[in-house]
């Protein structure tokens, strides 16, 4: 295999691996921009992955699966909203609670309903979101350079992959070009000002967490219905936390988020490809170091050594209306 093919393949798996991160990262972006910290991305993703795969295999439809995944994930997001918006509870505690409830109940319910050790039944092709071949991909496959780039890298992904990457400009547009987005950002910086303008802080934040729920659902559905043909217990394996790291790395901006997720996805793809094989110049790098790199980079960023990550100012603080 030529060097060029290796690069194409690595980049291809980079895209595949960064999609769930990207969706979860954008999900967190809506919530955190509105001033609600959400460390429960992991749990919502996991619950959605389970619900999606379970419903898809029962109803034999990928779309119903996705619908149920969204339903479950949004419900969990609303629980988070109920605790942290309505009852002004601690947002970290609430997010953590959701992670545990999701981790436990996906295993318990999975085992009780399907009896396959926490797995859901393997999904048939029509129960998954299958790869789409973009027009002309087969025609230009043989063209050097451009051919493989178009037909391997850009074409041949599942619908959800394109959804994820289209969500980036869409989120940018919502956040910076719509009234809703302006208010969303404002409520994360200075909720009192938004309240004074006669806009409900609570309703705005609830809408933000619903957006979060929808996007984590797609992230979860991608894991269980695209990347693998069914749910496996604990299949998010910390991706929600990497997405959180990516969000900080991106300084809460959608386009940066895409690059951060692609970077973390690339590190993952590289770790898989190398499998401990020595790199030129650097020598042998332990796989564990590659796995820990996103977290280490985020800590370095948080320490203020690569620019400064400033979170939304009202983030994590429950809003108490003046009396």
């Amino acid at each position: 295999m030529s060097f060029f093919d290796v690069i194409i393949q690595t980049l291809d798996s980079t895209i595949r691996l960064s999609v769930p991160l990207l969706l979860a990262c954008l999900a967190g972006l809506y919530s955190e921009r509105s001033g609600i910290f959400d460390i429960g991305l992991e749990g919502k993703m996991l619950a959605a992955a389970f619900a999606g795969a379970a419903a898809a295999s029962v109803f034999h439809s990928a779309w119903i699966g996705l619908g149920i995944a969204i339903l479950v994930s949004v419900s969990l997001a609303l629980v988070h909203g109920f605790a942290s918006i309505t009852h002004r509870g601690n947002q970290i505690v609430s997010g953590l609670a959701i992670n545990f409830v999701a981790a436990g109940s996906t295993i318990i319910l999975g085992q009780a309903w399907f009896q396959q050790g926490g797995r859901t039944p393997a999904l048939a092709p029509n129960e998954r979101f299958e790869a789409i071949t973009l027009p002309g991909a087969d025609a230009i496959r043989e063209v050097p350079i451009i051919g493989p780039i178009y037909s391997e890298l850009i074409s041949g992904h599942s619908l959800l992959v394109y959804v994820a990457f289209l969500a980036v400009p869409f989120t940018w547009w919502v956040l910076f070009r719509t009234r809703f987005g302006l208010r969303l950002r404002a409520v994360g910086e200075n909720p009192a000002a938004v309240d004074t303008a006669g806009i409900s802080v609570a309703w705005l934040r609830y809408r933000a967490v619903i957006c979060t729920g929808v996007l984590t659902a797609i992230a979860g559905a991608y894991l269980s219905m695209v990347q693998s043909g069914g749910f496996v217990k604990d299949m998010t394996a910390g991706k929600g936390y990497i997405a959180l790291a990516a969000l900080i790395f991106a300084k809460w901006r959608p386009v940066n988020a895409m690059f951060a997720c692609l970077l973390f996805g690339f590190l993952d793809a590289l770790a898989i490809r190398l499998q401990g094989a020595p790199l030129p110049i650097i020598g042998k790098v332990p796989v564990q170091l590659m796995q820990a790199l996103p977290y280490i980079l985020t800590v370095i960023l948080l320490a203020g050594f690569i620019g400064k990550a400033i979170p939304p100012r009202a983030g994590g603080v429950p809003y108490v209306k003046e009396r």
């Binding site: 910290f37 460390i39 629980v79 109920f82 605790a83 942290s84 009852h87 002004r88 509870g89 601690n90 947002q91 970290i92 505690v93 609430s94 953590l96 609670a97 959701i98 992670n99 545990f100 409830v101 999701a102 981790a103 436990g104 109940s105 295993i107 318990i108 319910l109 085992q111 009780a112 309903w113 910390g238 936390y241 959180l244 790291a245 900080i248 332990p286 564990q288 170091l289 796995q291 820990a292 977290y295 280490i296 985020t298 800590v299 948080l302 320490a303 203020g304 990550a309 979170p311 108490v320």
Partner: protein
């Protein structure tokens, strides 16, 4: 913390409300049991029977509780300083390396009671060291401690697997762990204490001396928080950072010291796992205890007595849950993870949910008890 709520009598605040929150958590857990088609009351009966029915069960319950006392105290100390240490899991895991190095050096040379103090020091040192960087970054550079401790949990997992697999594992061994520790690093069991109460002979439960260490630490934490100047500073800082600043309390100092103590306490959990139970340093030795510490600290209201009680409750769930999975195959031990999540949700994030109702109730029974002046808690 300045709550926008009126005061309740102390017993309602520290007894009634936590109990209601706990009850709701268990009711929701019961619904999950119902959902998988089992009887929640029978499940609860099996659970309690499994945890306290026989001496063996009690010993296991207390063995698990030991872990949770350490991690619960760790979370509580940080909580008093207004810091949320979510990194107990990673701190305990890395502390396992400290304990392991001490034990590997001493276990063939000296008896356990010589190794023990060094192991405590090793655990405390490594646990505190793993908490130091997040603490320093929070104090000096303002990076959010929740995020950094989460990151450090992840980094700890990668680091420990690397250390165990590539450095400490003997060549010949298949499993990723250190060599078996010998007598000099094995803590004596305490099962005889339970046997004193007339239970049958306990064969294999790993209930050991580190339980006593946990109790000592609980006492020391109480002493620290409520009877020392440092504890006063920690509480002041946690109550109001602004007030602490005006009182001349150094933010950097309090943040770092509170986190070091927290990390050290979380670290000691690994002594119970390594020297008390498995007699080796192994992958994922913290096994989620760091996270259960959060539930325990929230439920125990960050008070050592509350933490010990909550730890025993979770120990019971752990041990009883294992028994339960034999009796009801549909319910595995992961049920505890759900309960843990629900407890964190209702005792933590939604702790004020039922407060207004209880206040109304109290006000209608005895207006004095919720009145502005009468907060002493007589009446009602």
């Amino acid at each position: 913390m300045s709550t926008p709520y009126a005061k309740l009598p102390a017993w309602a605040d520290y007894g009634l409300i936590p109990l209601i929150n706990l009850a709701v958590a268990f009711i929701v857990a019961g619904l999950v049991v119902l959902l998988v088609g089992e009887n929640p009351f029978r499940a609860a009966a099996i659970l309690v029977e499994g945890a306290f029915g026989r001496g063996q069960g009690i010993a296991y319950t207390l063995f698990y509780a030991t872990n949770f006392i350490f991690t619960g105290l760790a979370v509580a100390v940080a909580m008093h300083a207004g810091l949320f240490n979510i990194g107990g899991e990673g701190q305990a895991y890395v502390a396992g390396l400290g304990v392991g190095l001490v034990c590997l050096a001493l276990d063939r040379v000296v008896p356990w009671y010589v190794t023990f103090p060094f192991a405590i020091a090793g655990a405390a040192l490594f646990g505190a060291a793993w908490a130091f960087i997040p603490a320093y970054l929070q104090a000096k550079r303002g990076s959010h401690i929740v995020i950094t401790t989460i990151m450090f949990n992840m980094i700890a997992a990668s680091l420990m697997i690397y250390v165990l697999r590539d450095i400490l594992k003997p060549e010949a061994m298949q499993e990723v762990k250190t060599r078996m520790l010998e007598a000099g690093a094995q803590l004596p069991r305490l099962n005889w204490i339970i046997e004193l109460f007339g239970t049958a002979r306990i064969r294999s439960a790993p209930f050991n001396v580190s339980f006593l260490l946990a109790l000592v630490m609980a006492y020391l934490v109480w002493l620290l928080i409520w009877r020392t100047k440092l504890g006063y500073e920690i509480r002041t800082f946690g109550f109001s950072q602004k007030a602490a600043r005006y009182a001349g309390i150094s933010e950097v100092r309090v943040t770092i010291i509170a986190m070091l103590i927290s990390g050290a306490l979380a670290g000691m959990m690994s002594i119970n796992a390594i020297m008390g139970d498995q007699h080796s340093v192994y992958v994922d030795l913290a096994g989620g205890a760091g996270f259960i510490g959060i539930a325990v600290a929230l439920m125990g209201r960050a008070h050592p007595v509350g933490i010990i009680l909550a730890s025993i409750l979770f120990g019971m769930l752990y041990q009883g849950g294992a028994e339960l999975s034999f009796e009801m195959p549909a319910i595995s031990r992961d049920m505890i993870v759900i309960i843990q999540g629900l407890v964190i949700l209702f005792a933590g994030a939604l702790e004020h949910m039922f407060r207004p109702y209880i206040q109304t109730l109290f006000a209608s029974i005895s207006p004095k008890s919720v009145g502005m002046a009468a907060v002493k808690g007589e009446g009602a």
